[in-house]
């Protein structure tokens, strides 16, 4: 039982391959936790602590820029 809350709070680590980013902002808009922001036309990880590793940004990034890994895995 004590493990349940911990399991719910999965933490993710987002990285952006900036050289390939075309600044479409799809990742920024579809992130439910507002981890990413646009900065100088590129997606930037602004609030890494909020990431829950839901993977929605990685799935929808059309340019193979975003990688999400689960912390501790």
């Amino acid at each position: 039982m004590s493990q349940e809350p911990a399991a719910k709070k999965k933490k993710g680590h987002v990285t952006v391959r900036e050289a390939w980013c075309k600044g479409c902002a799809i990742c920024v808009e579809f992130c439910p936790e507002q981890v990413l922001v646009m900065e100088r036309g590129k997606a930037t990880v602004a609030y890494p602590d909020r990431c829950t590793a839901c993977n929605l940004c990685e799935l929808r990034c059309p340019d193979f820029c975003i990688t999400v890994s689960v912390k501790g895995e």
Partner: protein
């Protein structure tokens, strides 16, 4: 974390597609589907015609063939007949498959040859400058329809179904996991399998039709998708302008290459 790089020709990156083009999202769903099926890279032959989507095979480390406009299905048919052990994937667009290659499209479906067709529907000829395609909706603008198209459109999935395809599904880039699952099912299915994929073109279509940013165009899919089961309960008026998604056809029907093999075996015995 999925390792896409193992399937890519990384020296060809970054992708040629415009900012916010949906085609990259489809490519990722396809690679996850290939991985899920455990297919080896050399087991796959990917064939494309001409257009934005048809640039896709250049980025993947499979056997790839970039052919002439509208003829992807003809090359793919030849490959499947000669090398039936290969998984043949066809990458095409709405203009490539249903306008310039329309005849090949209906006959490949009629033959029910074991190909998996990923048809990227962006409602426009993107690469050549935004001309009207058979799926440009009435009233929508294109470079060849500056006052809005006045023509009726093709229902691409319906066309494949009527011609005899054994698997037809429709999805969009808003739902990359559903898309991945449909591609898996399409590859597994013996026969002509079509996945019609709504992939927004923000540059040639969206801008001209004031459909907003790439995010707006993807969000439109979210708000206007109707699962096929629910669509059956709605009237045609209620379905006007909606996007019906789901598996539309999944039937058993004799497959062309298998029938050809039967003929070869019969003649060999006589």
């Amino acid at each position: 974390m999925f390792n896409y790089d193992q399937y890519l020709r990384l020296d060809k990156f970054p992708l040629i597609w415009c900012s916010g083009c949906g085609d990259g999202i489809v490519l990722k769903s396809l690679l996850r589907a290939v991985h899920k099926l455990g297919l080896q890279k050399d087991q796959i032959c990917m064939v494309s015609g001409i257009g934005c989507s048809s640039r896709l095979p250049g980025y993947v480390d499979f056997n790839t063939l970039h052919t002439t406009h509208g003829r992807a299905l003809t090359f793919a048919t030849g490959i499947k007949m000669a090398r039936p052990e290969l998984t043949v994937l066809v990458i095409t667009g709405d203009g490539d498959a249903t306008a310039i290659g329309g005849n090949h499209y209906i006959h490949a479906a009629r033959r029910n040859i074991d190909l998996t067709v990923l048809l990227f529907n962006n409602h426009i000829y993107g690469m050549t400058g935004g001309q009207v395609s058979p799926t440009t909706a009435k009233g929508k603008k294109a470079s060849t329809a500056p006052y809005g198209s006045f023509e009726n459109t093709f229902n691409i999935s319906g066309l494949a179904q009527a011609a005899g395809a054994s698997f037809v599904a429709r999805s969009g880039v808003y739902n990359p996991v559903q898309l991945e699952n449909y591609i898996v099912k399409a590859i597994q299915k013996k026969g002509f399998s079509l996945v019609e994929i709504m992939s927004p073109c923000p540059t040639a279509y969206g801008r001209r039709n004031r459909e907003g940013t790439p995010v707006d165009m993807i969000a439109w899919q979210k708000e206007n998708s109707v699962p096929v089961a629910k669509a059956g309960q709605l009237t045609p008026e209620e379905l006007e302008g909606k996007l019906i998604t789901g598996i539309l056809v999944d039937i058993e029907r004799s497959e062309c290459r298998a029938e050809y093999q039967k003929l070869i075996d019969r003649l060999a015995q006589s």
